[in-house]
Symmetry: C2
Subunit: 371 residues, 2 copies
C-alpha cells in the first residue's frame, strides 16, 4: 500500500520505537557505570567522561585503551533488495559500512584504531553458500581495514537459524584502539568558546536513517530503481559505502593538530553536534553540499529542514572541534586524505543550543538525550 | 514429527552445515592475516601465534592487548521456549552465557579481561517492552561482569526488524583485556611433555551444542519439561548458566602458577583439547563427572562416547595445561573459587592425538581443523 506522497514520513513510522528501548538503555547504563570500580582491582581506572560518549576509555597507564562494538543496522536489507534487482553483490560496500560504524565512533575519543573483530551472524549456513557475496564481504572488510590501517583480528561467523531471519545476516564490528600519546584524548575537556567546527563530508546516507529510507521505497514509482539523478538509482545511491574518517584523525595527530572534541554524525543527524556535555552555543554559518540521495529522501519524505537535519547527516558525516587557528589546516589535512571538509561554524559562550544560520534551524539542550 | 528415538542424532542433522561456512572462514582468515602489517605503522606487532587461537593478541609494548567478539548462539531460543512454558524469564542466565563465551575465550591467551561491550540486537523495539525480561538481561550482565571483575563499557541495543526474527534477540559480547605481565601469555610456547592437564568442571551444556539439544526436544515425551532427573526439567537444566572461568585464571596468576596453555571446551567438545598447534599426545586418565543434562542428551540422541565427547563438554568446561608440579595447586585454587577441578591427564611426547583411556576413545591430528 502506497502512502500519499505528500504525507510526511517520520522516523517512528519507519518502525523504530525509542520509547521501548530507552528504559532498558537507562537501566543498562546505570548497571554498566556501577562496574567501573572493578578496574581498580587490576590497577587501572575508567575515564569517566567516556561514559555516554561514543567509545569507552580506560586508563591503563602508558596510554588509554578504547573499545566499542557497533552494529551495521538495517542497511544490509537494501543490499539484499538491490541484489535481487540487479544481480550484483553489494557486500563489499556493506563491509565498509560495518567497520565505519565502529571505527568512526572509536576515533571520536582520540583513539587510534588497532584491531577490528568481525561479527557476521547469518540466518543459516546457506547464507555463506553464495560465494560471490561471501567473498565480497571478505574483500570489503579487508579493504576497509587497509584504509583504516587496523589489524583484522578475527571474529565470529555463526549460523543462527531461528534468531536471524533466513537469507539475512546481522553484521557488527568491535574495535579496540589506544589513545597514544594520552594528550590525544578528545573527550572535550579542551573545548572552548572560539573553537572552530569543521565538518567532514559524508558519502551519502552512511548507515543511519536506513529504516526511513527503506520505508520510502513504498512511495517511489520504481522502488529502489527510481533515479535520484540521471543514471543513479536510489538503491545504488543508498549503498555508497560510509566514509572512513580515521585516516583524517590520524593525519591530524601526525601534523600536531589537537582535536578538542569530535562527533560522529549518525543517529539524530546534526543534533549530534550538541553531544558535548558542556554548555556552549554551536553556531553553524556554512552548510556542506547535500548528497543527492539525502536531498531526494528529504523531498520524498516531505521533511522540512529541521526534520531532515535532525535525522540524517545531510552531507556532514563527522564533526571536528579544533582551535580556530587550526581550522584551515584541518580542512587541508582532510582534503589531503581525499575527504572534503569545510569550516562550518564556531563554538560560542551561551546557552546550549545549535544554530544553523543558513537554514534558520535551532535546537536547544533538550534536542539530544543520549546520557 | 518425532524421529524414532533410537536413531542417532548428529550435529549436521541439527542444521549447522560447516561445509558451507568453512570456505568463507578460510578466505576471511587469510585476508585477516594479511592486515597484520598495519600494526607496524603504529609501532606495534601482532603476536602471530594468536592467529587461530581463541583471542587475538597484539604486542603494544608494556603488555599485550587481547580482544575478541563472541556470539551466544542459539541458547536464547531455549530461554524463549521455557518462558512460554513456565512464565519465568531466563535472561539473567543467558546474559552470563553470553559474557562467558567472550571471557572464557579471552582468558585462554593469558589475558585479564578488562572491558566487556554488550551487543543486544532485537527483532524489534517490542523485545525490550517485556520489562521483566529486559531487566533480567541487564541484571545478569552486570552480575557476570562483577564475577569476572570487568568493566561493562557500553554496547549496542539495535532493533533489527527484518534481520533478527520478531520476538528474538541476537546476543554477543566483545571483550578487551591485557596480558600483564607479558609472561602470562599462554599461547603454548611452554607446553611440554610431562605437563599436567587440569579440567575445570562445567555447569552443564554451557552455550555449545544447543542446536542438537533443541532438535532433541522433538523426541522427548514432554519436550522441555521432560525430567532429566527428579525435579529438574530438561529446559531448566539446559539453561544453567555457563561457568565463568576468569576468577580461576586470575587466582592462578596471583598465586604464581604459570599456565602453559589453555583451551575453552566449546564447539568440537573434547577435541578442543587438541587445539595446541604442536605435536603431543594428550593422555586422559580420569574423566570428570558428567552433568545430568549431558548424560541425558547423550542417551536420548543415541550418541556413543566418541560422538558425545567430540561434540559436548561432558563435564569439562575448560582445560588448563600446567607443569606437573603445579597440578594439585591448580586444582586447589580452582576449588577455592568454587569451581570443581581434577587432574585429568598429562601431555606426552608422541604423535598428535588425544587418548581418553577411561572411555577407550582416541582422536588423531585430523579430528580438529580450526586453522
Amino acid at each position: 500500500m502506497q502512502a500519499p506522497a505528500n504525507t510526511p514520513l517520520s522516523y517512528e513510522q519507519s518502525g523504530v520505537v525509542y520509547d521501548l528501548i530507552d528504559p532498558l538503555k537507562v537501566a543498562a547504563q546505570r548497571a554498566a557505570a556501577a562496574t567501573a570500580p572493578h578496574l581498580a582491582g587490576h590497577g587501572f581506572t575508567e575515564v569517566k567522561a567516556s561514559r555516554g560518549e561514543s567509545a569507552y576509555v580506560v586508563d591503563v597507564g602508558p596510554f588509554y585503551l578504547a573499545s566499542i562494538v557497533e552494529c551495521l543496522g538495517s542497511k544490509a536489507l537494501v543490499a539484499d533488495e538491490m541484489q535481487k534487482l540487479t544481480g550484483r553483490s553489494y557486500y563489499s560496500a556493506i563491509a565498509q559500512d560495518t567497520i565505519a560504524m565502529a571505527v568512526n565512533d572509536l576515533i571520536t575519543v582520540g583513539a587510534t584504531p588497532l584491531v577490528v573483530q568481525a561479527y557476521w551472524a547469518a540466518g543459516g549456513s546457506d547464507w555463506f553458500g553464495d560465494a560471490e557475496r561471501a567473498q565480497a564481504l571478505v574483500a570489503g572488510w579487508k579493504a576497509a581495514c587497509d584504509t583504516c590501517r587496523v589489524a583484522w583480528g578475527g571474529g565470529e561467523t555463526p549460523a543462527l537459524a531461528g534468531i536471524v531471519e533466513s537469507g539475512r545476516i546481522d553484521l557488527a564490528a568491535s574495535c579496540t584502539g589506544i589513545v597514544n600519546p594520552k594528550q590525544r584524548l578528545s573527550l572535550g575537556d579542551e573545548l572552548a568558546a572560539g573553537d572552530a567546527i569543521v565538518l567532514l563530508a559524508s558519502s551519502g546516507i552512511h548507515a543511519n536513517g536506513l529504516s526511513l529510507a527503506r520505508k520510502l521505497v513504498e512511495r517511489l514509482p520504481e522502488g529502489y530503481l527510481t533515479e535520484v539523478e540521471p543514471g543513479l538509482a536510489y538503491g545504488d545511491a543508498l549503498l555508497a559505502p560510509t566514509t572512513l574518517y580515521s585516516p583524517v584523525t590520524e593525519a591530524l595527530a601526525a601534523a600536531g593538530v589537537r582535536v578538542h572534541y569530535a562527533a560522529n554524525v549518525t543517529g539524530h543527524g546534526w543534533r549530534k553536534l550538541l553531544r558535548h556535555p558542556g554548555t556552549f552555543t554551536y553556531r553553524i554559518t556554512a552548510v556542506p553540499k547535500v548528497p543527492p540521495v539525502l536531498a531526494f529522501i528529504q523531498r520524498h519524505a516531505g521533511q522540512d529542514d529541521a526534520e531532515a537535519y535532525g535525522t540524517l547527516n545531510m552531507g556532514a558525516g563527522f564533526a571536528l572541534y579544533v582551535a580556530a587557528a587550526d581550522a584551515e589546516r584541518t580542512v587541508e589535512i582532510a582534503r589531503a586524505q581525499g575527504i572534503e571538509a569545510i569550516v562550518a561554524g564556531r563554538v560560542e559562550a551561551g546557552p546550549k543550543r545549535l544554530v544553523v544560520e543558513p537554514l534558520g534551524i535551532e535546537w536547544g539542550d533538550d534536542a539530544l538525550q543520549l546520557r
